[in-house]
């Protein structure tokens, strides 16, 4: 697959054109991981290490393979493939949550400074 092909839309291929197979060197394989879906997001999840118990619920339930774990620990969020669905926040069991949705414009440092306090109603 050449650069030129990648820029072509499906409707721009001539009838009967040969579409190249995905076989061959890694240069020819176009894994969707090369495609960013970050612009689908209105809000992003932010991670706060302080409260995390590394239960991996967020890892198993992320539909976009965007919670990256290493050595059985939460490692980071892949913001190129996260669509901002919010499932990871919903399933996070800690109090306060270790993942919270913030607007795209908020920096992660700002988000951590404005982290919600422990929800005392929940314990009661």
């Amino acid at each position: 697959m050449t650069e030129e092909h990648l820029l072509k839309g499906w409707e721009e291929f001539e009838a009967g054109a040969i579409l190249y197979s995905f076989d061959g060197s890694s240069h020819h394989i176009n894994n969707s991981i090369q495609h960013s879906v970050a612009d689908w997001r209105a809000e992003k999840p932010v991670f706060n290490e302080e409260h995390c118990i590394h239960c991996q619920f967020c890892w198993v339930y992320c539909p976009d393979t965007s919670i990256i774990s290493k050595d059985k620990q939460f490692d980071h969020i892949d913001y190129v493939h996260c669509k901002g669905c919010g499932i990871c926040v919903d399933v996070c069991p800690t109090n306060p949550k270790s993942l919270v949705m913030f607007t795209e414009q908020t920096t992660n440092d700002e988000a951590i400074r404005n982290w919600p306090a422990k929800d005392t109603k929940k314990d009661a």
């Binding site: 991981i33 879906v37 198993v60 339930y61 539909p63 393979t65 669905c85």
Partner: protein, 317 residues
């Protein structure tokens, strides 16, 4: 026969090498990819996948991209099972000739939506199972043709509003009962048939690993809550999934050798069909007084099915 991958807890599970990548175009919060990830991560063996036309297929294979780090084949809407059975037969034939070489066993898995399974792909599925190919067929059941704008399928439950069974002043939506695919596939004499839910990952992984060990056809029905057409917020996917299971609308059970029923999850506190419906926009109209009988009748049917499953389990027949 291959070794079963050791997955004692989520921490173990999280060390899996992902073979389903991000960057696909499924809606935010779609359960399809959660199910696929859990199933692929349940083994380290080679996997060969075929998919029927549907959300999963169109969103993970937009030319020139693929989200699958494994062998993958797609032919048409109606023949995911035929495609995988042909692939499996070819693999066996080549193995007899000493090809292809791999130190790991290869598993064959077909994914179809309920449209590609309950309706359009039914004959090829039935045929492939009858011929006894060694494969797992997984139905990602979101109860309608969601890829084309949410039309009804034979999996849509009674009372559900879809674009071809709309609810209105006189109509309460879908008029027909949902087809019971799990029982139909058990009646084919499959070695193993099961219903799973992605929110119960442990149960799903256990059943999937049992399926990978089977030497004949296996059918797995996976409930796949769809934020877009079931009409709920994307972050609620797993909560809706838990509601489906806890209300016993989607009971988690398995059938071995066509008859031996085991209920694998019994909710501590049973939820009601009303609670399940209230969480989804597609059942909103059922809360009007004139349509309340739909939920009442549905609850009776769910209770009866649950009783039946428990009795079958107890009797061991």
């Amino acid at each position: 026969m291959s070794d079963i991958k050791q997955i004692k807890n989520l921490k173990d599970f999280s060390t899996s090498v992902e073979r389903f990548q991000g960057g696909h175009r499924l809606c935010p919060g779609c359960s399809h990819s959660i199910i696929v990830r859990e199933m692929l991560n349940a083994t380290d063996d080679n996997i060969c996948v075929s998919t029927a036309t549907g959300c999963l297929e169109v969103c993970t294979a937009i030319y020139p991209y693929t989200s699958w780090d494994l062998s993958w084949i797609h032919i048409g809407f109606e023949n995911a099972a035929a495609a995988i059975s042909g692939t499996e037969a070819m693999y066996k034939a080549l193995q007899k000739k000493g090809r292809p070489h791999s130190d790991k066993p290869t598993k064959f898995v077909a994914f179809g939506g309920d449209g590609g399974t309950y309706d359009i792909g039914f004959q090829s599925l039935s045929g492939a199972v009858e011929r006894g190919h060694d494969f797992i067929y997984v139905c990602l059941d979101n109860e309608g043709y969601m890829n084309t704008g949410g039309q009804r399928s034979s999996s849509t439950p009674i009372g559900g509003a879809t674009t071809t069974s709309p609810a209105g002043k006189v109509s309460y939506g879908e008029k027909r009962l949902k087809k019971d695919m799990v029982q139909i596939m058990a009646a084919h004499g499959c070695e193993f048939v099961a219903q799973v839910a992605p929110s119960k990952w442990k149960d799903l992984v256990k059943k999937t690993q049992r399926a990978y060990q089977a030497s004949g056809p296996v059918y797995i029905n996976a409930v796949s809550p769809c934020p877009t057409e079931w009409k709920f917020a994307p972050e609620k996917s797993m909560e809706i999934c838990d509601l489906a299971v806890d209300s016993c609308v989607f009971p988690l059970y398995q059938i071995e050798d066509g008859h031996k029923v085991t209920v694998t999850y019994k909710p501590k506190v049973k939820k009601t069909v009303e609670e399940y419906c209230a969480a989804q926009g597609r059942f909103k109209h059922l809360f009007r007084p004139e349509f309340s009988h739909v939920i009442e009748d549905w609850q009776k049917r769910v209770d009866a099915t649950w009783e039946y499953l428990l009795k079958r389990e107890e009797a061991g027949i």
